[in-house]
Assembly symmetry: C2
Homo-oligomer: 257 residues x 2
């Protein structure tokens, strides 16, 4: 898979307080391009993509990218920070659909209906790239590799959703949380961040909501895993002390290590 290539991936954080801060880095310069662009574009092609990308001012925590009901115009890539996708049902209940980290693409679910049925908001200060969907269609018609890349992106998203389906349908609270943490760990390590020590960008409520568990259960499992020296939990700071054990209790095949 191209995103496991040996091309190094760096994350460029930037300073929100500096108005001239480089939240406008081009795709060429962006350390994440290995994640969101196909491997084999020519410089010229990358440039074409680059020109269509709108780079808006970073979002503050809890600012929204789009709301349910908004017309669909663009897809988005996370540059830094984290995004929560969710929907609100008739009873006003929130349902967390997913979390997106730097280098990941979101908004794909609205293409068919041409309007957003879900919403997306920033979990922390977050920079995103906006790519007008019209341009995606246009460019991927011209650049064959880009089209193939889009298909792969979609396919990967579908597969990920299927995994979650299994998680929600069949797994215990402990397995769900274990798998969730392993998944985050893996995604962070892809981004050349620590696989064992990271900060959860989302609240316990969001985790519970996403995993189909009550907040209290999330808390309890965290403390239990801590008691068994699998995790070290300090608020949102997580350290995985025993990766292997975490894999075992998740009944997940342990990917690396």
């Amino acid at each position: 898979m191209f995103w496991l290539s040996n091309r190094p991936i760096f994350v460029h954080p930037f300073d929100m307080s500096d108005p001239k801060s480089k939240f406008t880095v081009s795709c060429q310069e962006c350390g994440l391009n290995a994640l969101c662009l196909p491997y084999s574009l020519t410089l010229e092609e990358i440039d074409q993509v680059d020109q269509t990308v709108k780079r808006n001012k970073p979002l503050h925590r809890s600012e929204s990218v789009y709301q349910s009901g908004d017309r669909f115009t663009s897809i988005y890539a996370v540059r830094s920070g984290a995004i929560k996708a969710y929907s609100i049902d008739e009873e006003g209940e929130e349902h967390v659909i997913g979390f997106y980290l730097p280098g990941e693409i979101f908004g794909l679910d609205a293409i068919d209906a041409q309007s957003h049925l879900s919403a997306a908001k920033a979990l922390e200060t977050t920079a995103i790239c906006e790519i007008p969907y019209e341009q995606v269609g246009h460019l991927s018609g011209k650049i064959h590799n880009l089209q193939a890349h889009m298909y792969r992106l979609f396919s990967r998203e579908i597969r990920a959703d299927q995994q979650i389906q299994i998680l929600l349908g069949k797994k215990t609270a402990e397995e769900r949380i274990g798998a969730f943490l392993l998944n985050l760990s893996q995604r962070y390590s892809q981004r050349r961040l620590s696989a064992t020590k990271f900060r959860l960008p989302m609240a316990r409520t969001d985790i519970g909501n996403y995993l189909g568990l009550a907040v209290e259960t999330v808390s309890r499992v965290f403390t239990r895993l801590q008691k068994h020296h699998v995790l070290k939990v300090d608020g949102k700071e997580i350290e995985i002390l025993n990766h292997k054990k975490l894999c075992e209790l998740s009944h997940n095949e342990c990917p690396l290590l």
Copy 2:
């Protein structure tokens, strides 16, 4: 949405016992083309698609289209019958991922890895169209409408998976089964089949597995709904007696009616 267009959709069943049976109908003749092809292709374009489609002999019940581990070569459309997609975990447990009815496309989840991690088998005598993925890439590069159509298909699949995610994470047994039946009902009615009376192509076990419920629970909910005159259940034959009530107890917005 294009598949709610007023183009009539007919299902052409065919006789398996007749070796000359028309399981080789062209896309032009196929009553389902409104479902699996974009609305706005020219006759010439449809012809191009038609030439790439492999129409193999129908599958018998429980014959498989592909197995986990198979190399990914093609995507598939159901022409008649029904397909179950599932995966088997390390412990040998089956996880039902989804069901596909005539006019629906499956196999999209394998594009990224280029190999099937899930399997697909026929739930009953089933005819499928096989479209080599290479051709999909090639044709959708040439035919812009086809590319757009593919993106919509993907998007729709993602959205459907998200709906199931919510179902599995938050809903009770009754809500899950209600929503499942309503979903089938809606899909059948799109195919110009009865929305109120249909035959379940899958076993109770599969329903339970798919919805994250024990078989026994599925049975119990069926009998309870029957007792309350919401359904009439006779083996696999289902009749929805009170559509509105079914919507209510599913906490689903009632689409038609």
